[in-house]
Symmetry: C2
Subunit: 332 residues, 2 copies
DNA sequence: CTGTTAGCGCTTTCAC
DNA sequence: GTGAAAGCGCTAACAG
């Protein structure tokens, strides 16, 4: 097995307490013995047992991040952001994916709260009552990443979906002169999706453009969904002049269909998206979309969590909304 | 704090040993007391302290996976593959990124070997002597993911880069009739990149096509690098008729430059890539590329690691090479 | 400055 | 069937 402080203590002819102190650079240890012990440790290739230390200190210096599914278009960026902040503060990050399986979030959250991590960042497409309960029962600090949590008890950070969609719609109307703007929705359960729809509607209203329900079609955030929705919109008698897809993936689907029909973007029909995923830069013509500062989300979430961890929950839950930006391509 | 078996023991008027046994479904406990204890635990919202258990059992049931950088084009898929297998075997997966910082791999590997995980899957672009030593010193089982390890001591899984590049080149020659095939290399330190170059050269040789060194240009696996390389190749007096980019990102860069020059793919110049990243499907025309079964890599690596973990290192290191496939698009 | 001692929460012999 | 007790490796009073 691994070697322990006990063995070092024997070799050094000191007590294990002294070894522990020396290794932790406790000022009350003579420099010479410190030196001795450190060298011995090095020689013996000692590495401290993290688990044992955790058991007594009750602090792992690890934060967990649970994603609905590792991968996707922006999770990596979020993780990166979290990692960055954590690293600076001498925390480690453990990522766990929940496979989108219902019970798995539960199992992972449970696992993480069994003292493996000091706190967790939880990213969920939407919050069900079940999950709400789960979160309430969990004793370790949690920070939520999502559009709109409705959970006052837990800190959260998310992007301002409403503002993003509003800005885009407004831009289409006021800067580009469009008035026949259609919209492809996201999944009904997804709260980001819902807020984007709201933003779209609000912008139309504020510009006194009546809402045409024929132009608001279902989508599911996938390419396939975008294709379906685009086909539907383009087969209408009264066609829209722009398609605002609630995310870039669906916008990509629109591109495909439009291409197949031999139509041209933006002359025959314009397309705009939401998310600014890397692929959007490669669509031809380049997609106009709403930029989501993903790494910023990760960084903010990590900061929030570390803050709670360090200032031992004195602070009450905060809710941070991150403003989106507009990426103007050639697709409208 | 969290409640412990001690408190349950008090309420149930039994010893903590019995509680422990009951909770672990030990057959030597009366069914009635088991029942009692389980109910009590439920009521009291007990959740076992994982750290304490680990300290005595010396087994965490967690495997770690260290990536050079979370994100990238295929890491998510790899993680997914690992997760899948791990989950089926009741293991958890912790992901740590090394930020591409040299010392961080070290720190994370150290961290993970401090008894936090039972084994780790390590993915590295290339293996330096430094890392080689690090790996040798680490006491926990490791499985490497990379193209070519040169490390007999440690199990590894990787894709057959040589075969992939060879197949592609051969395909270009024999099925498509090209003979002026240029190649954009990857970073020099990257072993995958080196093997791809070798495969390309070997295929040319086997088809008795002389190697034109003017047509083998430097690249760095980035879009920008692809742009630079493409500009260079297209400014040659003796132009190639195909560009084989060592990865899809660089192929995407080629598309950009070719587009800007007003040339058409594949009529003026053909482009093929390697990796089959999602974006490759969206390039117009669709990119012909080498498919890398990323999730398969993850799955295989996880299986290998779990095997080592369960059969306590009786098995000697294995080296698995995963065969790539050809994705035929419209770019050649 | 250093040693002794008592845990952290749990599992696991060894008795009874 | 169940309890007592030892101990996993480490830290943190409390003494000296």
């Amino acid at each position: 097995m691994s070697i322990t402080i006990k063995e070092i203590a024997e070799k050094a002819n000191v007590s294990i307490a002294t070894v522990s102190r020396a290794l932790n650079d406790n000022p009350n240890v003579k420099e010479s013995t410190k030196e001795l012990i450190r060298n011995l440790a090095q020689e013996m290739n000692y590495s401290p047992n993290f688990v044992a230390r955790t058991l007594v200190k009750k602090k792992t210096n690890v934060i967990g991040i649970i994603l609905p599914e590792v991968g996707g278009e922006f999770f990596p960026e979020i993780i990166k952001g979290v990692d960055e902040v954590a690293y600076q503060n001498e925390y480690h990050v453990f990522v766990a994916s929940s496979h989108s399986e219902r019970n798995t979030v539960e199992s992972i959250l449970g696992f993480m709260s069994k003292s493996m991590v000091d706190g967790v960042i939880l990213m969920l497409p939407s919050i069900t009552d079940h999950i709400r309960n789960l979160i309430k029962r969990t004793r370790i600090p949690i920070v939520l990443i999502n559009g709109y949590s409705k959970m006052e008890e837990v800190s959260s950070v998310g992007i301002d979906n409403f503002q993003g969609a509003y800005t885009m719609t407004n831009f289409l109307i006021q800067n580009k002169g469009y008035d026949k703007i259609s919209f492809i929705k996201g999944p009904d359960i997804n709260s980001d999706a819902k807020l984007r729809l709201k933003g779209y509607k609000a912008a139309l209203e504020d510009n006194k453009i009546p809402i045409n329900h024929e132009w608001i079609v279902d989508g599911d955030f996938t390419i396939k969904g975008g294709e379906l929705a685009a086909s539907r919109l383009l087969s209408l008698i009264n066609k829209p002049s722009v398609i605002f897809a609630a995310n870039d993936m669906m916008a990509a689907g629109c591109y495909r269909v439009i291409d197949q029909l031999g139509l041209t973007i933006p002359d025959d029909i314009a397309v705009v998206g939401f998310d600014h995923i890397p692929m959007s830069e490669f669509l031809n013509p380049k997609l106009t979309t709403v930029h989501v500062p993903t790494d910023e989300i990760g960084r903010k979430a990590a900061k929030l969590l570390l803050d709670i961890l360090e200032n031992s929950e004195t602070t009450k839950p905060q809710h941070i909304k991150i403003t989106t930006g507009l990426i103007v391509g050639k697709s409208c």
